[in-house]
């Protein structure tokens, strides 16, 4: 009863892909990670700004637009540009998510609950990743317990916005194939943001 997808599309591969990005981000200098974290946090509440940043980094447009990069000192700009692929990976994942999710993520970044959220998302994706239909699952109480009241509400908001049928009052939920891509993007976002936050 599982999707016969190419091996490259199983959860392990997603985990590997995300781990590679996390590893690369971890190797960036601490101040750059910190700057990236705060730049993305500032732009998260503005979908247009997030899209503009992606377009700029993606299309080599920083030199002829009045962007913050063109106004940066050369050494800082170079470091930004060196970290471009990892930033683009993160931005692409973020752009899959909705405005509401961006708000919730920004709140989560400020409250530093990204690792707990990541673990919860992973616990949903791992056992269900290959199932193409609606199946029930139960969230691990220990993972839920690690989030405080508001954190729990915000995390469930993030999950619901992906299309998952879950409610904070109920540890049981239903897996939906339509939720797979946004949930994977949420997993990627939480992972890389968490790595940046560790700075």
């Amino acid at each position: 009863g599982r999707i016969q997808e190419p091996i490259s599309r199983d959860f392990k591969s997603l985990q590997n892909e995300v781990s590679r990005e996390m590893q690369a981000v971890a190797e960036l200098p601490r101040d750059i990670r910190d700057a990236l974290f705060h730049t993305i946090l500032a732009k998260l509440r503005d979908q247009g700004a997030l899209q503009d940043l992606t377009d700029m980094l993606d299309g080599n447009l920083w030199d002829h637009t009045g962007s913050f990069l063109s106004e940066m000192r050369e050494d800082s700009r170079n470091v930004w540009l060196e970290s471009r692929p990892y930033v683009i990976y993160l931005l692409e994942a973020l752009l899959v998510l909705s405005d509401i999710q961006h708000e919730l993520l920004a709140w989560s970044m400020e409250k530093r609950i990204l690792p707990q959220q990541r673990e919860l998302v992973e616990s949903i994706l791992e056992p269900n990743f290959r199932y193409p239909w609606n199946i029930p699952f139960t969230l691990d109480p220990k993972l839920l317990a690690s989030l405080q009241e508001e954190g729990l509400a915000v995390t469930f908001g993030l999950l619901q916005e992906c299309g998952l049928r879950v409610a904070p009052d109920n540890p049981k939920g239903t897996w939906d194939l339509e939720a797979k891509k946004p949930l994977s993007a949420l997993y990627g976002s939480l992972s890389v943001l968490q790595q940046l936050a560790e700075a």
Partner: protein
């Protein structure tokens, strides 16, 4: 969100996999007929795909002026009454090491009545548009799309609300039993004492809001002027890369004597002397 869930349900009812739900009511007007959308052709992950991004221009903005204006074709109005009741788990029983013992019923419902109409383009107009020429001076947004290697699409059909509509959903948890849990959420439910927690959301969506759309890919033909509208299978590139033949004539190709390479490049290529490096 409530809007997105409704538009997704509508797309399911419309039955066509070519329809795409609009996700955000605030940007719904950007998915009207003949509006242009862009999408990244290559992404760094294979596990998610980028959404369509409206570019705030229509197809007419990139075509040379013409006296013929495509007339929108309206379908009959139809009404969708969607009342979904979801009983996530009839009985919720959890027992874990955290002294959790919950028993109850969780219900979620979504209710709306949508009157919608599809605005599309006639096959004749579509054919006519494909014969039109692209403006000589490329608009800046097109240049940027070309630089990034984006693909461009045009909205060919938009499903719009014919009346202002109120979307509504509610979720409730009827809980019984004890809640000796450390998680404040469950504890809060008991503290409220009623054993029933209800959350309701409503949203008023104005008339004319686009709920779903169909798109076709825009492909610039090799001469760089005429356009061709094709299906949305994403397999072509909007901006074709230069072909080898063009490279041969536009760039001086110097190659070292190598039989295989000479064979590969000799046909149709003007041979040039090999200059010393």
């Amino acid at each position: 969100s409530l809007f997105e869930r409704t538009s997704k349900n509508l797309v399911k009812e419309l039955g066509g996999k070519d329809f795409r739900p609009v996700q955000n009511p605030l940007s719904a007007h950007k998915f009207c007929q003949l509006k242009l959308l862009r999408k990244k052709r290559r992404t760094l992950s294979q596990f998610w795909e980028q959404p369509d991004v409206p570019v705030d221009h229509t197809l007419m903005d990139i075509l040379e002026p013409s006296p013929s204006v495509p007339e929108p074709v309206l379908t009959e109005k139809f009404v969708l009454i969607d009342k979904t009741v979801w009983k996530g788990a009839a009985e919720v029983d959890v027992t874990a090491g955290l002294e959790v013992s919950v028993s109850g019923k969780a219900t979620q419902s979504c209710e709306c009545s949508l009157e919608v109409q599809s605005v599309t383009i006639s096959p004749w107009d579509l054919e006519d548009l494909q014969k039109r020429k692209v403006l000589d001076q490329e608009p800046s947004f097109l240049k940027e799309c070309r630089t990034r290697g984006d693909n461009l699409y045009v909205v060919t059909e938009a499903v719009k609300l014919t009346n202002g509509t109120v979307l509504q959903d509610s979720s409730s948890v009827a809980a019984t039993g004890t809640f000796s849990v450390p998680w404040s959420f469950y504890a809060k439910s008991t503290a409220e004492g009623s054993g029933l927690k209800v959350r309701e959301r409503t949203m008023t969506v104005p008339q004319g809001t686009v709920m779903a759309y169909k798109k076709k890919q825009l492909v610039f033909r090799e001469d760089g002027r005429a356009i061709l509208l094709i299906s949305d299978d994403d397999k072509q590139k909007t901006f074709p890369e230069m072909k080898m033949q063009e490279l041969r004539t536009s760039v001086e190709i110097l190659f070292i004597s190598d039989d295989n390479k000479q064979k590969a490049f000799s046909e149709g290529t003007k041979r040039r002397p090999i200059l010393p490096i």
